[in-house]
């Protein structure tokens, strides 16, 4: 499924790298611990997190994740947006908490394990 479809279906706000919304996601990963994401997320995952610190961009870039969704209405810091534009990482935002967003993505066929 493409990021553009998710943005539309789940009413996500897009905060960076609008040009990369055509990318397809292959799975979902939810975590607020950067070390955990570094260790266990897979290439092409959509990452759900509460963290807004600019380090999330570095982690997403290193693991080649499809994009990041910030939950609970949290907005990225300016520095995070700038970094994401440079690294071409899509950052989206949702009002939903992690549990509900993961639930809806699951309902759209996104899985958290192979």
């Amino acid at each position: 499924m493409k990021l553009t479809e998710l943005v539309q279906k789940l009413n996500l706000g897009v905060r960076s790298a609008k040009g990369s919304l055509e990318r397809r996601i292959t799975g979902g990963y939810a975590s607020d611990l950067l070390s955990d994401v570094l260790a266990h997320s897979k290439e092409g995952d959509l990452w759900i997190t509460l963290q807004i610190h600019h380090n999330i961009v570095a982690v997403a870039s290193m693991k080649d994740l499809a994009g990041i969704v910030l939950v609970n209405g949290r907005e990225p810091e300016q520095e995070t947006i700038e970094k994401a534009e440079t690294e071409n990482i899509v950052i989206m935002v949702s009002e939903l908490p992690t549990f509900e967003l993961a639930g809806r993505l699951y309902g759209l066929g996104v899985r958290g394990m192979k």
Partner: protein
């Protein structure tokens, strides 16, 4: 340990200790059919001035030396105790906190209360004012070994204080800095105590969350501090104080998401710059004062009228 923290310890104990823990078990009892003529020997032999009347484990009355003297003075014929005893006995439940006992002693002016099981009304023991003081002293001796005379004075003193028109309860908890494992012990003990006081669960939840976040801040940023809590009928005041490095820009730390927490704290699930906002959400009023190099004081007021504030925002 400062004198004021001893008082708060005692005040906390009268909510934490139950009547069952201080009562005397193995109570001498009489049956309702025991003749009055035998009562004197029982009271004399056991050196007691009154005794519960029990039938099949259930308390049916209480008979005192006074009742016996009255019977003697009236020169009546011998009769079963049941005819002279006071029925409708005021009792305490074994699981009630000592504060209930103290209130009842004051209200009814009795010298003793039979203690019964809440579930089946069986007589479990008997409690006097002396038992309460003794129980408090014992508990304090377990917790602190020094300066026993001071405690004796304070316990008896406090006993008088609790009978005032307005009761204000003070609790104090010490916070050890950088001890992440034990973080939250103060908030946990406070929560247990407030539960015993019978406060509304949502009010307790707000106080617990606000205190826990404040305690966590002391542990992360300072070498330790104190939590002081003042419970009044309609309001709870929490003051959390540390002698840590202080906060250079108080306005800034109140912004959601602003944090200077080190990475190890973030990996433990704290330090995301939400703590103070959380406290603000739970509080009716909050005030943060800090002097760089001297320390930080956080004042939190939770009004009982605000009820479930933190869950409805």
């Amino acid at each position: 340990m400062a004198p004021d923290s001893k008082i708060s310890k005692i005040q906390e104990l009268i909510y934490e200790i139950s009547v069952g823990q201080v009562m005397k078990k193995n109570v001498v009892t009489v049956g309702p059919q025991t003749p009055m003529s035998q009562l004197r020997a029982i009271l004399l032999e056991k050196r007691i001035s009154g005794t519960p009347v029990v039938e099949e484990d259930k308390l049916v009355g209480i008979i005192s030396l006074e009742d016996f003297i009255r019977w003697l003075a009236d020169r009546e014929h011998d009769c079963p105790i049941s005819e002279k005893m006071s029925g409708n006995v005021r009792t305490l439940y074994a699981d009630e906190p000592l504060t209930q006992a103290v209130n009842k002693f004051e209200r009814f002016g009795f010298g003793r209360f039979p203690v019964i099981d809440r579930k089946n009304n069986k007589l479990l023991g008997i409690v006097t004012k002396g038992d309460i003081i003794e129980g408090l002293l014992k508990k304090l001796e377990i917790d602190y070994h020094q300066e026993e005379d001071v405690y004796r004075h304070r316990v008896t003193h406090f006993f008088e204080d609790i009978l005032a028109d307005k009761v204000v309860l003070l609790f104090q908890y010490d916070v050890v800095g950088h001890d992440f494992k034990r973080a939250g012990e103060g908030a946990s003990r406070l929560k247990a105590t407030l539960r015993r006081l019978g406060l509304d669960p949502q009010v307790i939840r707000r106080v617990a969350i606000a205190t826990y976040e404040a305690e966590m801040n002391v542990i992360i940023y300072a070498d330790g501090g104190k939590i002081r809590v003042r419970v009044e009928p309609m309001e709870i005041f929490i003051k959390v104080e540390d002698s840590g490095p202080g906060i250079p820009d108080v306005e800034k730390v109140l912004q959601p998401g602003y944090s200077t927490a080190p990475e190890w704290v973030r990996e433990l699930g704290f330090g995301a710059g939400m703590g103070l906002n959380n406290i603000l959400k739970c509080a009716s009023k909050m005030d943060l004062r800090s002097v760089v190099g001297k320390g930080t004081q956080l004042y939190i007021r939770v009004s009982i009228e605000d009820g479930a504030k933190s869950e409805t925002d």
